[in-house]
Symmetry: C2
Subunit: 364 residues, 2 copies
DNA sequence: TTGTAAGCGTTATCAT
DNA sequence: ATGATAACGCTTACAA
């Protein structure tokens, strides 16, 4: 019999002595006295009985062996073999956990985590800072799909992922990129609702204070604001929108006094990262010596910043961040499953608040 | 027309319809007229010149081919072959992202993410809730190592991981479990420092208000408190510690008045989840009609709860949560690399604050 | 019902 | 300096 030539084989070096390597299917197989493939079959047995043809006895032996060894499938190998990982990626272009808690994605992640857990996915946080290189984004392919969040999107990279058919969902409206799925809040309807509320209270002249930004979140709010005016039969001339590069210096007490003198009875501010518009507005109203629900009504198109949590609850709406996160996961998970699903805009919840009241009766 | 029957070969199934195939190293190789291995060598050429022995010409040809094909490495294959997942787990026994932001691990995660990114790791988020079963903990093995945080630790499961040589680090002191690595804040030193500060200000009778809890975080603070008294040559009798099951009802204005009458000039409260001790203390002092840095000095062994952020900054110390997270990742990453490293306690930073002043001169 | 083996896209080793 | 080739751990078609 021909002796198998025992020449040193090419290939990887043996595992370094120090660390114990995790158990693999082969070891489970050995312990259970079956073939490695059987282990795979047992472990991936579909619950719908389809294709699962394994005797209950073997099944148990394999399961026991796996448990006693603490076996867990290697996600990379699973993925490589053209199967699923049960891993969903989360990639933020800035840090996922910025030092400044205020600007963080935390509230979204709450929803993301819950929905992911409910669907049996674990979450991989791809840390943006690490790679840096052009293919930093490409690491996400380790997961079955990936959620993206952040302001500045590397278009080319993302486009590539989408083009390759890799499941991708962006959290926040993003229509610029053809074929990119996204979920977003319905700022238009919510803003319209707020304006309708003010109109119901008798306000005829309403002014929007917004920052000088072209983000969808801003333009959507303005659109809803104008829609609202329109729906109430109110004029929405150009002077009903104050677009300020720096709200704090532009929305002064004097300016507010002027506008009120002209007949404005209600102000609406958009919510932004900094909360500048709202802060400028409330500051100016107080500075003008006007009482809030009494002399003028105020509304905030969004949630108040945490540092103002102590003040009176502003009339306005809340962005359902949890729900947005959850919706994103639903959409992504549908994509992963190959179902080209579609998530509608998520509705914001109206918040009655304390800063809006009946329009003051004009003095004769 | 009779289709030439392509007999399906064993092996993997055809790629799922959605997923378009991307160029691989083999195609780059073909285009560049070299072997696939050469492509790998070129693409992974170490910048330190070590082991890189490829002619500049080939190098360029390969690079060009890769670029023109838009080649991006497959992370799954890469990790599989390299036998490293570059994945660190984060497991919290409660939800990683509790709805209540206040009690969240957020501040730690900031540090964890940064350090992980710096070391080229991605993070896998596990939640106790998602798994469910008794071997839910076992899922963490899909990562190269795992960070644990939370109050209630399933000892048996964790022990198993440690025994199996799986790299594990607990965030927060945890000496009960033999062989479990952990990182913690040095509450003892920090508390001692605060007391020393008070003693320097002339206080001779200082009382600690703490909750009825046996967590290391509590006992460490008490120990540091007593050490501080001792170091200042002050008596640390049993009446210098107020251990309350319910601080708010036990630390009353009357009680404070009594103690002050007995000669107590400074109070120290431990920081807890709820912040009850500190709130009870400040409330009682105000209720007793005492002015804070004037009549009595107050110190908080930790950071004030967010809802009190508006008040005067308490004298005390800050737990370096970012740094703790980072330290945990360092320790874990050392373990993963097989280096049995050791992280010392992380120092807390003294905060001068505004609630402590010179001891009032006793009236004759 | 179970075993055999191909192949996923890399990396790393040896031989040329 | 480059090319073969063996792993890496897994899924799955097909043979037994």
């Amino acid at each position: 019999m021909e002796q198998p030539r025992k020449r040193a084989k090419p290939g990887r070096a043996p595992a370094p002595a120090g660390r114990k390597s995790r158990p693999r299917q082969a070891e489970v197989a050995r312990l259970a006295g079956v073939s490695q493939a059987t282990v795979s079959l047992v472990l991936n047995a579909r619950r719908d009985g389809k294709g699962a043809t394994i005797s209950e006895e073997t099944r148990q032996r394999v399961l026991d062996a796996a448990r006693s060894l603490g076996y867990v499938p290697d996600p990379a190998a699973r993925r490589l073999a053209a199967a699923r990982n049960n891993l969903l990626g989360v990639f933020s272009f800035t840090s996922t956990f910025p030092t400044d808690v205020q600007h963080s994605y935390y509230p979204f992640l709450v929803g993301v985590e819950q929905e992911a857990a409910a669907r049996g996915y674990d979450l991989v946080l791809f840390t943006a800072s690490s790679g840096g290189g052009p293919d930093a984004l490409s690491r996400v392919r380790l997961a079955d799909g990936c959620l993206f969040l952040g302001r500045h999107v590397p278009r080319a990279e993302l486009k590539r992922l989408v083009a390759d058919g890799f499941p991708v969902v962006h959290l926040g409206r993003r229509e610029e990129l053809e074929g990119l799925a996204w979920v977003g809040a319905d700022y238009v309807s919510a803003s319209r609702e707020v304006v309708a509320h003010l109109a119901d209270l008798g306000h005829r002249r309403i002014v929007l204070v917004r920052e000088d930004d072209d983000a969808p979140a801003s333009t959507d709010r303005q659109q809803g604001f104008l829609d609202g005016l329109d729906g109430a039969g109110l004029a929405g001339g150009p002077d009903s929108v104050l677009r300020c590069a720096d709200p704090v210096s532009e929305v002064t007490a004097e300016r507010v006094r002027e506008l009120v003198a002209e007949g404005v009875t209600a102000f609406v501010a958009e919510e932004t990262d900094t909360g500048a518009a709202w802060q400028a507005l409330t500051g100016a109203v107080a500075g003008a010596g006007l009482s809030c629900p009494g002399d003028v009504s105020l509304a905030l198109l969004g949630s108040p910043p945490p540092e103002l949590a102590a003040g009176p609850v502003p009339t306005g709406f809340d962005v359902p961040r949890h729900e947005l996160g959850a919706a994103a996961v639903r959409l992504l998970s549908a994509q992963v499953a190959g179902e080209e699903a579609d998530e509608p805009l998520v509705a914001c919840e109206f918040r009655a608040g304390l800063t809006a009241g009946p329009a003051p009766v004009p003095e004769p």
